[in-house]
């Protein structure tokens, strides 16, 4: 996305995250995230969907620099946190010298600790992401300790209790351990911990997926209410497209480490353009018998190819019925089709 808007809270451009994988004697890069760009505005929810193994979790973790990015640039709140130095021209083409090597600009690699206060994460599994040997008070208080956000014990306790109240936990339970709570309550503890440092941005990695439907709605509503109250932005990673549609302002669709489509949530659902998005949406079982009877699924043939043996060109072409020769030759770039609807497809 070339639009240079300063009001974006988070900007990611040409982000790559490769993991070295041993194959016999060789190390091969597994391209978990390959050249993706997007932006998140303050107070906005960007949904990120895709099948397992498409790299959506890796994107979330790389943004928070839990992984060291292979290449790309991450800008948060106007400050460059990471830049591997590659430069791109107006047409998003990599600038290279005569020998084909990229010409590097200034490299940046900032210490993340001060920024962790601004960017937080809520994990999928409320059972394994809370330390079983710590009380709720200490779990929520730990980020306060790390960033030294209180001047007295009493202030620490006040902060913790008000956080617990904020996420709908009973303040009397502060001295309990995580195992004494149900799944939904544990997820609330995880959210309170993320909110403790008053962040501007939270990555929610499948934060409601492990919860029962009736509890899921409670937590989804809480995310929405907290956003209204505190103005935090979310990157909401999930595989349940209906939940993502409900909570998100915009939705990004990933496939095999590539960004396929980004659009407003309603626009994406009413007018999906990428063949992958189409089949993904049609595969969602709709909890309404009338619509379910009428709708026809576009069943995709076969499985997702292994990220170690990526098809040339567009990664989706092996399962796409519109695939042409061009698709095998080059990866389509994300192009604006109006209304902020970006699609990476040669044919649509």
């Amino acid at each position: 996305m070339s639009e240079k808007e300063t009001k974006n809270l988070l900007e990611v451009s040409h982000l790559k995250q490769y993991f070295p994988v041993s194959q016999g004697l060789h190390k091969v890069p597994l391209k978990a995230v390959d050249d993706i760009s997007f932006a998140i505005r303050p107070g906005e929810t960007l949904g990120l969907v895709g099948e397992s193994g498409c790299g959506k979790t890796t994107v979330g973790r790389t943004l928070l620099r839990l992984y060291e990015p292979t290449a790309g640039k991450i800008t948060f709140d106007g400050e460059v946190l990471f830049d591997s130095g590659e430069q791109y021209d107006e047409n998003d083409k990599l600038i290279v010298d005569a020998t084909g090597r990229p010409i590097y600009g200034k490299k940046v690699n900032k210490d993340m600790l001060p920024y962790r206060k601004e960017m937080q994460m809520v994990f999928q599994d409320p059972y394994s992401s809370l330390n079983p040997r710590m009380t709720v008070e200490d779990i929520i208080g730990e980020p306060l300790d790390v960033h030294k956000l209180y001047s007295s014990k009493a202030e620490r306790r006040d902060k913790i209790l008000s956080l617990m109240e904020l996420v709908g936990l009973n303040a009397e339970h502060a001295m309990r351990y995580a195992h004494e709570f149900s799944g939904g309550q544990r997820q609330r503890i995880g959210i309170a911990r993320a909110l403790a440092v008053d962040p501007k941005f939270i990555v929610c990695d499948e934060a409601v997926s492990a919860l029962d439907v009736s509890i899921q709605a409670q937590v989804v509503n809480m995310f929405e209410e907290l956003q209204e109250k505190l103005g935090v932005a979310y990157l909401f990673i999930a595989h349940d497209l209906l939940v993502v549609h409900h909570i998100s302002d915009r939705i990004a669709v990933m496939y095999l480490g590539r960004m396929m489509e980004i659009a407003d949530a309603d626009e994406l659902n009413n007018n999906p353009m990428h063949p992958y998005t189409l089949s993904l949406l049609s595969a969602v079982p709709i909890p309404d018998p009338e619509t379910a009877r009428k709708s026809s699924r576009i069943v995709l043939e076969g499985d997702v190819p292994s990220p170690l043996h990526m098809p040339s060109g567009c990664p989706f072409r092996t399962r796409c019925k519109y695939a042409t020769e061009q698709c095998a030759m080059e990866m389509p770039q994300l192009k604006d089709r109006g209304n902020g609807h970006f699609v990476a497809c040669h044919n649509k």
Binding site: E51, I215, H246, S279, V299
Partner: protein, 333 residues
């Protein structure tokens, strides 16, 4: 086959408990249902509702601490709860098969896919090894596994999640059972693979004419698949009826709450209405209706007395006091 009944499977007042150190956990409290040949019954509920335990009780594959404490499970008129373990071993797979949620842990990692398929065939039929091998390949072709000849030599870890679930289905169907129990068959899979598997199950049902019991927490999966739906909560049946009954004319407060709490295309811009409170603790069941502590419409009678299943329409019942005019009106005064 003593008396011919039009029902293939009849479950009457089934009770299952787990005897733990903390006390008796009543996971299933008197559920009943009937299944006709070639039909699909959906059992939907949250974790702890007893939907999986009901399925395991029918198959008699409960964990060591679990025991069926009452009721009967009749297959073609015969109560299979009286079967010995030896009879059950013959029965499982041949008459009723089950597929589980997680295809990785339900396949044996040290044997090839082909070996595991052949094993099922050899156990239940008089086929020779050669014939069993042929049957394995035939079954893999049926469930849409490509290159079945080479797949039979592969181990489960070499297959993708969707492929493994296909192998599980092939294994369950290789002796042509009359009933297939699918316990959250697609929960561990991606939506696109889920669509493939659901389509496959419907296809196979048309081809082979088996009845399916579909156990799931996903209302979306249930909406398109089932002839009859049973909503469970706290080990009891709250409501049963056709998909249209459940989705358009829900009569139990829990069903209504569930439908309000899921995102659908028509409520995208509205707030979801969650069900308050926390899931039920089976060790500490309320005296009256199990859903009562979380129910907004709870009345006095709900606290003390368990409602029976009340007829709402043809084949549509709900166990909720709200449907009994007298109880409701008595409250109003």
């Amino acid at each position: 086959m003593s008396e011919e009944s039009k029902y293939l499977l009849e479950v009457n007042d089934l009770n299952t408990s787990f005897f733990t150190d903390a006390g008796e956990v009543k996971a299933v409290n008197g559920i009943s249902f009937k299944l006709e040949p070639g039909k699909t019954l959906g059992i939907v509920g949250e974790s702890g509702s007893g939907k999986s335990v009901s399925a395991y009780s029918i198959m008699q594959i409960l964990a060591e601490t679990g025991r069926v404490t009452g009721g009967e499970v009749k297959f073609r008129g015969e109560n299979i709860l009286n079967y010995s373990e030896k009879q059950m071993q013959k029965f499982r797979g041949e008459k009723i098969s089950i597929i589980f949620q997680d295809p990785m842990t339900s396949l044996n990692p040290v044997f090839t896919v082909g070996y595991q398929l052949e094993e099922a065939v050899l156990l239940h039929t008089n086929k020779t090894k050669e014939e069993a091998k042929k049957r394995a390949i035939e079954m893999l072709t049926l469930v849409g596994v490509n290159e079945p000849e080479s797949r039979v030599k592969q181990y489960p870890h070499e297959l993708s999640g969707g492929m493994r679930q296909r192998v599980m289905i092939a294994m369950a169907l290789c002796c042509e059972p009359d009933v297939l129990i699918a316990d959250e068959p697609t929960t561990a899979l991606d939506v696109t693979i889920q669509a493939q598997i659901l389509e496959l199950m419907q296809d196979l049902q048309k081809k082979l004419g088996m009845a399916i019991i579909m156990v799931t927490h996903d209302l979306g999966v249930i909406a398109s698949m089932c002839d009859e739906i049973m909503v469970m909560y706290g080990g009891r049946v709250c409501e049963r009826g056709t998909a249209d009954d459940i989705f358009y004319r829900p009569a139990h407060e829990y069903t209504k709450g569930l439908l309000r709490s899921i995102p659908r295309h028509d409520n995208m811009n509205e707030k979801l209405v969650p069900i308050g409170g926390t899931p039920i603790n089976l060790l500490n069941m309320p005296e009256g209706c199990a859903f009562c502590p979380r129910c907004d419409a709870a009345m006095k009678i709900c606290l003390t007395e368990k409602p029976d299943e009340i007829q709402i329409g043809d084949g549509h019942t709900a166990a909720c006091w709200m449907n009994i005019k007298e109880a409701f009106e008595a409250q109003e005064v």
